[in-house]
């Protein structure tokens, strides 16, 4: 097939091409972090606090150190710089957005599972025995486990500061009180969402060693190889003496954005001068690593009788757990996106992140957007019911469009097609399913969402990519991306092949190595396609331009008449003259014309405003979409069966259709789990759901097929007009399911997950609020 026969305007972009990494994975050839072994490797284990809140009176490691086969036992006093303010893979200083990271507990433990000591030994069994031989004397403290309690003036102090408040933000637009007074309908509700665990199938893992040049090298399952800087700071080493390599990851979802095993491994390898390996058990992963933030959210929403939103007031309290980590950033995202994809003249948001003695909370797919989306989309249905409008009709009167302002005053610049996504998502549900029994109720719901892609503009984000031809016509890309399974490197190969007129199989992407690949930033924040896709596109176009210029000279034609495809240069409209790729490459090499290019892409940048008042542009751009769900609720058992799930999104431009659909399907499934199942339960800081038989995630038997609708506006800031969809695909899924449950049973549950127990309680006791019922207030802030 020639280019002209292709139905799209691109050769490869937008096609459903099999991913190169899928081949290796399905034949069992891909090596993940724990699959690598080195001769002489020691095995590490971490001693973790048995208390959520305690003072450490003493630590005696002498018995453990004397055990045969034990090579190192480290505590806080062995860490050259135990406390660091992590910049999380950033080169730009962003003031108050740098979270405290403490490697090992010192004097005080702040959550159960906090690391207290490290051991490296000849075998895992010896390391485990050594942990038991470490004598830690704790003085238990009362602790505080509820973020609202932790706000009170006399609350137990989690950290060393005289307040538990990590940060507070506010948005002010118009006058909400005057609008509430004039409005025809005002609905006020309090919503609560739980801790969530990422449940990447691959637990945290890595190996560290000192290489032949004395460079401390760490191969770890991480979304951020640029933690090499943090590790270097912790060991007080020069940044260029620490190298981090990320092999293919078995999932990330934000849980491998913070440091996991890297610092522990670095300290132990540096001490022992031996390779050291550490892989978490599933229990350790659930117990001790970051969680999605629980929120308490009070929402007050007002509309006129003709269905126009006039005001929204939101109070958000997030549980940061024992350490801040990324809580300030997550809360800022929630603050900016608190009012969703709606045009509202009067907005008031007050948001607080609060330390407790619960497991620390940090990045998780959606980064603060799913929590508030559950609240504002529940409110939208509640207000629509009061107005006597359908959920779709009410939303259609209020969606934001290009040029409209968010609560912060930023006017949207790119394509906004939420209306179309909502109409198409609802239509795709088709004919309603008939109940299978008199006690089964069928319900339908929709939820729209907005979610940023790309990082905070305060971070001055950038990415780099190197693209070059080899003399045989194959292509090498070097780009420091972490491939967490979403097709990150495969999309880069596809973009490169498109521009350079070769096939995807001709492109090899070297990725994820701070020593060998140009730094490309984090694989987080739905930024990798946007940032590294653009950097790769820029580099590939520069290479193409150089080759086309040379080919034009050789063919005696103007460069704008040269077509470069299928490894051939042709003069457009002239069938007689062409050159092979190899001929042009050889000519360029001979003339000293570079066959490669290293390009940098910079995102829009703004300076940090050191003020709690959030104003103006905070993110580069947003993705908009709608989920629709149909559920059956068994009113005898409270069991919810999800019958249909639809995700309709403006993806800008799909790069790989299979990968884009895969993101939409997987994100939707994740959101359905958040709605119905997922709940890390803690009892005074002690996690009681430490295994996958108590922390439940959706299985294949729990979900229907996900129907995906991709709209391609071409209006995104990514390569070829793409928008990011990794996180947006999940954000509005949960409220679509819970709105469907509310539609089925006529009662709105304001707490996730919407479990059978909660549904039965609501049905039997009638205590849960109906859409028009009374409101409850969060206790006044201290």
């Amino acid at each position: 097939m020639t280019d002209a026969d292709k139905p799209t305007k691109y050769r490869l972009i937008g096609l459903a091409l099999p991913r190169h990494d899928a081949l290796d994975k399905v034949y069992g050839q891909t090596k993940y972090a724990d699959d690598f072994t080195m001769p002489g490797t020691l095995h590490a284990k971490v001693l973790r606090s048995r208390y959520a809140a305690a003072r450490i009176v003493s630590i005696d490691t002498s018995a453990a150190e004397r055990m045969p086969g034990v090579h190192a036992v480290l505590t806080a006093r062995d860490v050259p710089r135990n406390e660091t303010t992590s910049k999380f893979g950033q080169t730009h200083s962003a003031g108050g957005f740098e979270g405290l990271y403490r490697v090992l507990a010192d004097k005080k433990v702040r959550y159960m599972g906090e690391a207290v000591a490290l051991v490296a030994a000849e075998t895992p069994e010896t390391a485990a025995q050594a942990l038991r031989a470490i004598d830690v004397v704790y003085e238990p403290q009362p602790g505080v486990f509820d973020p609202v309690e932790a706000l009170k003036p006399d609350a137990y102090r989690v950290g060393e500061e005289d307040t538990n408040v990590v940060c507070s933000y506010k948005v002010r637009k118009g006058d909400v009180d005057a609008a509430f007074a004039r409005a025809d309908v005002v609905v006020e509700n309090e919503y609560r969402v739980p801790f969530g665990d990422h449940v990447y199938l691959e637990p945290e893992s890595g190996t560290a060693w000192i290489d032949e040049d004395g460079v401390l090298t760490i191969r770890a399952s991480t979304q951020v190889i640029e933690h090499f800087r943090d590790v270097a700071d912790i060991l007080r080493l020069p940044h260029n003496k620490v190298r981090v390599i990320a092999p293919m990851l078995g999932g990330g979802f934000g849980g491998k954005e913070d440091i996991t095993v890297e610092a522990y491994l670095a300290l132990l390898a540096y001490r022992t001068k031996r390779p050291v390996k550490l892989t978490y058990t599933r229990e350790e992963s659930i117990l001790s690593h970051s969680k999605r933030h629980p929120y308490v959210m009070r929402y007050k929403t007002a509309a006129t009788a003709d269905g126009k939103l006039v005001a929204m007031e939101c109070e958000l309290i997030s549980d940061a757990g024992g350490y801040p980590f990324l809580s300030p950033w997550v809360l800022l995202y929630s603050t900016v996106m608190a009012t969703g994809p709606y045009k509202i003249p009067n907005v008031k948001v007050d948001a607080h992140a609060v330390l407790t003695n619960n497991t620390f909370t940090s990045a998780y797919r959606g980064f603060g957007a799913p929590q508030v989306c559950f609240a504002y989309e529940s409110q939208m249905d509640a207000v629509a019911a009061q107005l006597g409008l359908t959920p779709l009709a009410f939303r259609m009167k209020n969606y934001l469009h290009t040029g409209d302002e968010l609560g912060t005053g930023y006017a949207l610049e790119s394509a906004v097609l939420t209306d179309e996504t909502a109409e198409r998502a609802l239509a795709a549900l088709g004919e309603p399913t008939k109940p299978r029994s008199p006690w089964e109720k069928i319900g339908r719901g929709i939820a729209s969402g907005m979610q940023s892609y790309g990082r905070l503009v305060y971070l001055h984000d950038s990415s780099r990519s190197f693209v070059g031809f080899e003399l045989d016509g194959t292509v090498v890309v070097r780009c420091g991306v972490q491939d967490i399974g979403g097709g990150q490197t495969s999309s880069i190969a596809q973009i490169t092949a498109e521009v350079l007129g070769v096939s995807m199989q001709d492109v090899t992407v070297y990725f994820g190595d701070t020593a060998l690949t140009p730094l490309a930033g984090t694989t987080t924040a739905t930024r990798m396609l946007y940032m590294s896709g653009n950097a790769t596109l820029k580099a590939a176009r520069a290479v193409r331009d150089a080759l086309v210029t040379k080919a034009a000279e050789m063919l005696d034609a103007s460069p704008d008449r040269i077509a470069m495809a299928d490894k051939t240069f042709r003069v457009v409209g002239d069938k007689d003259h062409s050159l092979s790729l190899i001929e042009v490459l050889e000519a360029c090499a001979s003339d000293g014309i570079p066959l490669s290019n290293l390009a940098q892409f910079n995102a829009p940048a703004r300076e940090v405003k050191e003020s709690a008042n959030v104003e103006g542009q905070i993110h580069p751009d947003y993705t908009f979409g709608t989920h629709a769900a149909e559920v059956a609720v068994d009113t005898v058992t409270g069991q919810v069966t999800v019958l249909k799930l639809v995700a309709a999104f403006d993806v800008g431009q799909a790069i790989n259709r299979l990968s884009a659909e895969g993101q939409l399907e997987g994100g939707t499934a994740c959101g359905a789990g958040y709605a119905l199942l997922e709940d890390v339960k803690m009892d005074r800081g002690r996690t009681v759901t430490c295994a996958l038989d108590t922390y439940l995630v959706p299985t294949a038997a729990d979900l229907p097929d996900v129907t995906t609708i991709m709209i391609e506006s071409g209006g995104g800031m990514g390569p070829f007009g793409a928008k990011g969809i990794g996180e947006p695909s999940s954000t509005s899924s949960a409220p679509a399911v819970t709105n469907a449950v509310a539609d089925a049973i006529g009662i709105r549950l304001t707490r996730l997950p919407v479990s059978p127990e909660r549904i039965l309680t609501a049905l039997k006791e009638g205590q849960a609020k109906r859409d028009d019922a009374v409101s409850r207030r969060v206790p006044e802030l201290a």
Partner: protein
């Protein structure tokens, strides 16, 4: 507890090891025999990432003692097929985009292979039930079910032609 010498046929290759009697098959495969295409996702039988075929039937290798595999055939995803001689399920998983991070894939493909052995023409509901012990966090399962269904449909066509 003591040790025992065992011989396991892994993908047709006889492999010997001296193992602790309490050692799991997963631990011995990964850490003693270097069979790292078998993944450890939870070690408690909840996620299915460690699924292998034991004499043709899918088992969680984390819940199987190594000594139980003595003298028996263990098939991993590498034994099911290779790029040179692929199994239809492997080709179908790639073609349908059923592989994202890939950490569940080896166990998922083997559970599907075990299902097809017992029931070559399963329905979508039967496929969903059969792989419900294999967690996937990336795909939402739709493309995985698509991939398995296509192989089943091809089997059904062959069956119809033969009859």
């Amino acid at each position: 507890m003591g040790t025992q010498e065992i011989e396991i046929q892994v993908n047709g290759q006889p492999l010997r090891a001296t193992v602790a009697v309490e050692a799991t098959l997963l631990d011995v495969l990964r850490n003693e025999l270097g069979v790292v295409e078998v993944k450890n996702g939870c070690g408690q039988g909840d996620c299915g990432a460690c699924t292998v075929l034991l004499d043709g039937d899918a088992v969680n290798s984390c819940l199987t003692l190594a000594v139980q595999a003595d003298g028996r055939q263990v098939t991993t995803v590498k034994g099911l097929g290779s790029p040179e001689a692929p199994h239809p399920l492997q080709e179908s998983f790639v073609a349908h985009g059923a592989v994202q991070c890939g950490f569940c894939s080896s166990g998922m493909v083997l559970s599907a292979a075990s299902l097809m052995k017992q029931n070559p023409t399963p329905t979508r509901a039967e496929i969903r039930e059969a792989i419900s012990g294999n967690l996937c966090r990336c795909t939402g399962y739709t493309k995985i079910v698509d991939a398995i269904e296509e192989v089943a449909n091809n089997a059904r066509l062959l069956e119809e032609r033969a009859s």
